[in-house]
Structures are given as structure tokens and as C-alpha cells.
């Protein structure tokens, strides 16, 4: 019995250890962190969290990040829905090529687009706005969203569309009332992936913002100062960074397996 679980327990320890260590650090003082190795906080303190949640410069980063991540998720899904419907239902010249080309956008590293985006946004006064980061992330999220959603839509028989037309549904009404509820799971999975990509992306988000839309990932670098590294606050910020992702995963956990099963993720 024990032998059977040995591997699993080992895996669990390895998977959880880094997270545990971060939580552990976030609850210690800097003296304890830089001092002796302690497996749990000897001097339990919530000061690190207090610093983040009371200082606007800190929690503003979370708000900024959440704003552009949400804009990005909503826009990506909204744009990808009609696009993937077209790919799944219609045949047109070069549809397969276009579909693949869309996906190749994800193959290039974000750094490639850094300079063009920076120059473009500066010239049209979008620099340092939430929408700027959201739009930049859409370059990567829309192809992914189209790809995932197309898989879900292909699983819905065309006859449902036709029956709706025969019944007299107009296209928009059919799409909103009948079709979208059918791919609810797919939309959940897609939103999750868009959210996660945008949430953890650092390079574009940091470069395209300076003050007003500065994301939390960029603000976390503030902890380096002349006095050294503020390890405790950094760890606390890290813990808080995990929270939104964990929440989103909690809500879509039942659909993610399906998303993987569709072979699209």
C-alpha cells in the first residue's frame, strides 16, 4: 500500500515545495530569511502582506495587471468566437493555411514584437495605458483562443445550426442563445488560458508601461534597493500573484481536462 503511493508523495513534495517555501518566506522577517534555515516561520509576521495591501504603489500594480488582463481576456474571447465559428463551419479559399498561419503568431518570441509595439504605441499616445498591454497580448492570445474554440465548435453538430435556421432564428440570435451555451466549457477554458498568459507575461507588459499602467510583475523589481533585497515583501507579492490564477483554475477545473482532451492546448 505504501509503496504504491511513494512516487505520488514524492511528486507532490516536489510540486508543492517551491510554493510552500514562498509562503514560508512571506511570513518571515528579512532577518530570519537571511539568517538560519528555518522550515517554518519562527517569528510569524504579516508585515510583508500589510506593506503590499496598504501601499498604493504596491496594490496599484495588482489593479493595473487585473485591468489589462481582464480587458485582454474579454477582447480575445470576443474576437475569437466569430473567427473560430467561421473556421469550424465554412470552407473558404486558404482556410487551412490561414488557420495555421494564425497559430504561427505564437511561435515567435514576444521580444520580436517589443520594438514595433513600443514605437507604434508611443506615436499614437497609447503608451502606458491598460489597453495598450491588452492589445499587445491579444497578438498571442487570439490565435490560441481561436485554436481552442475551434476544437470545441467542431464538436457541435452542424445540424443544430441548421435546425435553428429552419426554426427561424437569425444568426446573431442563434449564436448568442443557442450556440454560446453549447460551448460554455470551451469559453471557460479559453478564458483561462488567455488570463494566465496575460497575467504572467512580463516583457511586453513592463516595456509598454511606465507609471499609470505598471503591472505587478514590474513593481516586484522595486524590492531591490540600496539597502539590499526586501525578500519578505517580494515573497508576499509572489504569494498574492498566485491567488488570481488559483481562483480562476478553481472555477474552470472541470473543463480544463476537457480542453486538454480536445488536443488543442
Amino acid at each position: 500500500m505504501k509503496k504504491r503511493y511513494f512516487g505520488l508523495i514524492l511528486y507532490l513534495v516536489f510540486a508543492i515545495l517551491p510554493i510552500y517555501w514562498m509562503v514560508n518566506m512571506s511570513l518571515k522577517t528579512n532577518e530570519e530569511i537571511t539568517g538560519a534555515l528555518t522550515l517554518w516561520p519562527r517569528h510569524l509576521t504579516f508585515d510583508n502582506f500589510r506593506t503590499i495591501l496598504t501601499d498604493p504603489a504596491w496594490y496599484g500594480g495588482y489593479i493595473n495587471s487585473l485591468i489589462y488582463v481582464l480587458i485582454n481576456t474579454v477582447l480575445s474571447v470576443a474576437v475569437a468566437l466569430p473567427a473560430s465559428y467561421a473556421f469550424s463551419r465554412y470552407e473558404f479559399l486558404g482556410d487551412k493555411h490561414l488557420f495555421f498561419w494564425l497559430l504561427t503568431n505564437r511561435m515567435s518570441p514576444p521580444a520580436v514584437f517589443l520594438l514595433p509595439f513600443f514605437q507604434l504605441y508611443s506615436s499614437i499616445n497609447l503608451f502606458d495605458t491598460h489597453i495598450a498591454v491588452a492589445l499587445a497580448h491579444m497578438l498571442f492570445n487570439v490565435p490560441l483562443a481561436v485554436w481552442i474554440l475551434e476544437g470545441f465548435m467542431a464538436g457541435i453538430p452542424r445540424e443544430i445550426d441548421e435546425t435553428a435556421y429552419i426554426d427561424g432564428y437569425s444568426f446573431p440570435r442563434f449564436f448568442v442563445r443557442i450556440f454560446i451555451p453549447l460551448i460554455g466549457a470551451g469559453i471557460g477554458v479559453t478564458a483561462f488560458f488567455c488570463f494566465m498568459f496575460s497575467w504572467v507575461e512580463l516583457l511586453l507588459a513592463r516595456t509598454l508601461t511606465s507609471v499609470n499602467a505598471k503591472p505587478i510583475v514590474a513593481i516586484m523589481t522595486r524590492t531591490v534597493s540600496a539597502a539590499g533585497m526586501d525578500w519578505g515583501v517580494l515573497a508576499a507579492a509572489g504569494v498574492l500573484t498566485i491567488v488570481p490564477g488559483a481562483l480562476v483554475i478553481y472555477f474552470v477545473r472541470n473543463y480544463i481536462a476537457k480542453g486538454f482532451a480536445m488536443g488543442r492546448v
Binding site: 453538430p157 445540424e159 443544430i160 441548421e162 435546425t163 435553428a164 435556421y165 429552419i166 426554426d167 427561424g168 432564428y169 437569425s170 443557442i178 451555451p181 453549447l182
Partner: protein
């Protein structure tokens, strides 16, 4: 509705799915599209509905050209082979949806119409459920109710019973005829099963490999198949066919070297030539039925027992003969039996496969 297809054809690239054909449906009656799988039944039906555009030809509804008119603007209803319902709506909302979209129908009337049709299809107790919670038969009933509640002048049913289990199929089949009989709807019913066509009656259109083979009143087509292929399609199990020659005495047909079957009176006028003779499996018997019955010694290959019938697959020399016998007969493979054919029940097809003679139907 008077639906007419005028020289309609459908191809996809180099593949031709429907060769140009013209046909006029019997208004307000049941029209059965009979054909084996891949005969083009679904394709033709989709053209009738306006779901697909024909490659050539026109579709006329009550004399008006509706070719290429969007299916949303055509007033019709359709039931698919798959169980197609809106999974997010309750059964009630599924059935009510065409009425709600039609507008101008009060909530009270919608309710009463939905309940009436649900009652007819025995799903009145399921109205609050979601389609996903129903059995296949109930889902298909829901789809049918949605098609019927609309009272569209044209109702298309594409093998609606094929995905149901045997019992349910029998049950629904019997109800269908009654459902259709008291309405002015022009019904088109696609099926692969001759039995269904016979049960529904009306008018039958026989399709094969994208071609229209024959159309006419169902019994007429059944008794006088225009050619060999129709005879095969419109008989389950398929009609027994064997090549034969009429020579010398034209009152006899020579099959293999050793058999000469006497011809029935209906075939006496045939000229000397090669013919294919056809006998329905249900007309092959274990006991002579009349003094003129011709016996054939056959070797049993297989006896399939279906419960009420036994399908006996036998061989006589090169000739394969299938007999549909009433009741259960246990016959060991390899054993010999005498099977009897009544010459008066033999069909003859000429070298081109066209009907040369069919059994006379007396008053019976």
C-alpha cells in the same frame, strides 16, 4: 405545399451526388424517398429544404422559384437522423422555439399548442427536462414535436427512426402514419427500409446512386418495379435474381443447365432472349402452395432466425436463393431442402434490367 424539383442536380467538385432529375411531390401527402445508404436521399432533401444550393436546376414551391432562398425564409420543418435538440433549453422551450420566433403568437396559445403536440407524441410528462436527460427515443420525439408544432406546409424527415432501437422504431412508425394522415402537410420521408415505405403508403420515389429510378404510388412501385435495381432496393431481404434464357419452348425459362422453370401466364408473351428472373424471398416456400409450384432442391448455407421469421440462405448450383419463412425453422447448414416457387409470382427483367413482366395483381 406543392414542391417541384425541376432538372435539379448536385455535385461537389468532380463527384456527382445527384444526377439531374425532375420530380413533383404529392401535395398534402406522404412522399417516401426510398434508397439505400449513399443513394442521395439526404442530399436531395437538403436541396428541397434549401440548406444546400443545387448545382443546376430549380426548386419550385407552389410554383414560385425558391432556389437559393435562405432556409430561414422558407416555411418548413425538418427532422434529422441524429437527435437534434437545443441542449440548453428544456423540452418545452425546444418545442416552443419555432412558435416563439414566429412572433404574434400569444403565450397562452404557445403553451396549449406545445402541450397538445407533446401529448400526441407521449412526451407531455417530460416537458420540464433537458434533452440531455432523455433517452434517444424521447429526444427524437422532442425533435419531431418541434417540427410538428410549427404546422409548416412542408415537413422533411431524414431517416428519423434509424438510430432508435427496434421496439421504439416499431412503436413510432405506427404512430407516424396517424400523425401525418390528418394534416395538409406535404411530408417527405427518407428511409432505407422497404417496410417503412409500405407502412406509410402514399407515394414512393426510389433513388439509387444519385439517380431517380422510379416514382409512383407506393404499392404500384412495389408490385411493378421499373427495373431490377428498384426490385432489389424495394425488398428486404433483396429480391432473388437469377439469369435465365428463354429458348425453344418459351413457356419455360432455363436457369442453370439442369433447371427449367415453367413460366406463369403473365410471362407468356416474352420473346426468346436472356432474362433475369426475380422472386421475392417471401414468395419462396417450404411447402407447395399450389399444384403448379416448382420445387428446387437447395443446400442450406445459413438459417437466420429473427423471431417471427426465418431467413434461409440456400444454394442450388450457382444460384443463391434466400427464403423468408414465417415462424422458426431450425435447419442445419449443409442439409438439403426443397423450396417451392410459384411461377405466377416470378418477375422478369430484360437484358437492360428493365421490367419485362411482373405478377398480375388480381382483386386481392
Amino acid at each position: 405545399m406543392q414542391l417541384q424539383l425541376d432538372g435539379i442536380s448536385k455535385g461537389l467538385g468532380a463527384d456527382i451526388h445527384i444526377y439531374p432529375l425532375s420530380l413533383s411531390l404529392q401535395a398534402g401527402k406522404i412522399n417516401v424517398l426510398l434508397g439505400q445508404t449513399r443513394a442521395g436521399k439526404t442530399t436531395l432533401m437538403r436541396l428541397m429544404a434549401g440548406l444546400d444550393k443545387p448545382t443546376g436546376g430549380r426548386v419550385l414551391a407552389d410554383g414560385v422559384d425558391v432556389t437559393g432562398v435562405s432556409v430561414r425564409r422558407r416555411n418548413l420543418a425538418m427532422v434529422y437522423q441524429q437527435f437534434v435538440n437545443y441542449p440548453a433549453f428544456s423540452v418545452f422551450e425546444n418545442i416552443a422555439s419555432p412558435l416563439r420566433l414566429a412572433g404574434k403568437i400569444g403565450e397562452q396559445e404557445i403553451r396549449s399548442r406545445v402541450e397538445a403536440v407533446a401529448e400526441k407524441l407521449h412526451i407531455a410528462h417530460l416537458l420540464k427536462r433537458l434533452p440531455g436527460e432523455l433517452s434517444g427515443g424521447q429526444q427524437q420525439r422532442t425533435a419531431m414535436a418541434r417540427a410538428l408544432v410549427k404546422q409548416a406546409p412542408l415537413l422533411l424527415l431524414d431517416e428519423p427512426l434509424v438510430n432508435l432501437d427496434y421496439k421504439l422504431r416499431e412503436e413510432l412508425r405506427a404512430e407516424l402514419k396517424e400523425l401525418f394522415s390528418n394534416s395538409n402537410t406535404t411530408v417527405v420521408y427518407a428511409t432505407t427500409e422497404p417496410q417503412e415505405a409500405l407502412l406509410l403508403g402514399g407515394h414512393t420515389i426510389v433513388l439509387d446512386a444519385g439517380r431517380l429510378l422510379q416514382q409512383g404510388p407506393t404499392l404500384e412501385v412495389f408490385h411493378h418495379p421499373a427495373n431490377q435495381r428498384v426490385a432489389e432496393v424495394f425488398s428486404d431481404p433483396p429480391m432473388n435474381l437469377f439469369p435465365s434464357t428463354l429458348r425453344g419452348q418459351t413457356r419455360e425459362a432455363h436457369l442453370a443447365s439442369d433447371i427449367a422453370i415453367p413460366l406463369g401466364a403473365h410471362l407468356h408473351g416474352l420473346a426468346k432472349a436472356n432474362y433475369t428472373l426475380g422472386v421475392r424471398p417471401s414468395h419462396v416456400r417450404l411447402q407447395p402452395h399450389s399444384p403448379v409450384d416448382y420445387p428446387l432442391r437447395c443446400e442450406v448455407d445459413l438459417a437466420e432466425i429473427s423471431g417471427s421469421d426465418t431467413y434461409l440462405h440456400t444454394r442450388h448450383g450457382d444460384i443463391n436463393l434466400v427464403a423468408q419463412l414465417a415462424g422458426v425453422h431450425e435447419l442445419a447448414p449443409g442439409s438439403n431442402v426443397s423450396l417451392y416457387i410459384n411461377p405466377a409470382e416470378v418477375f422478369a427483367f430484360d437484358a437492360q434490367g428493365q421490367l419485362a413482366g411482373s405478377p398480375q395483381r388480381s382483386a386481392a
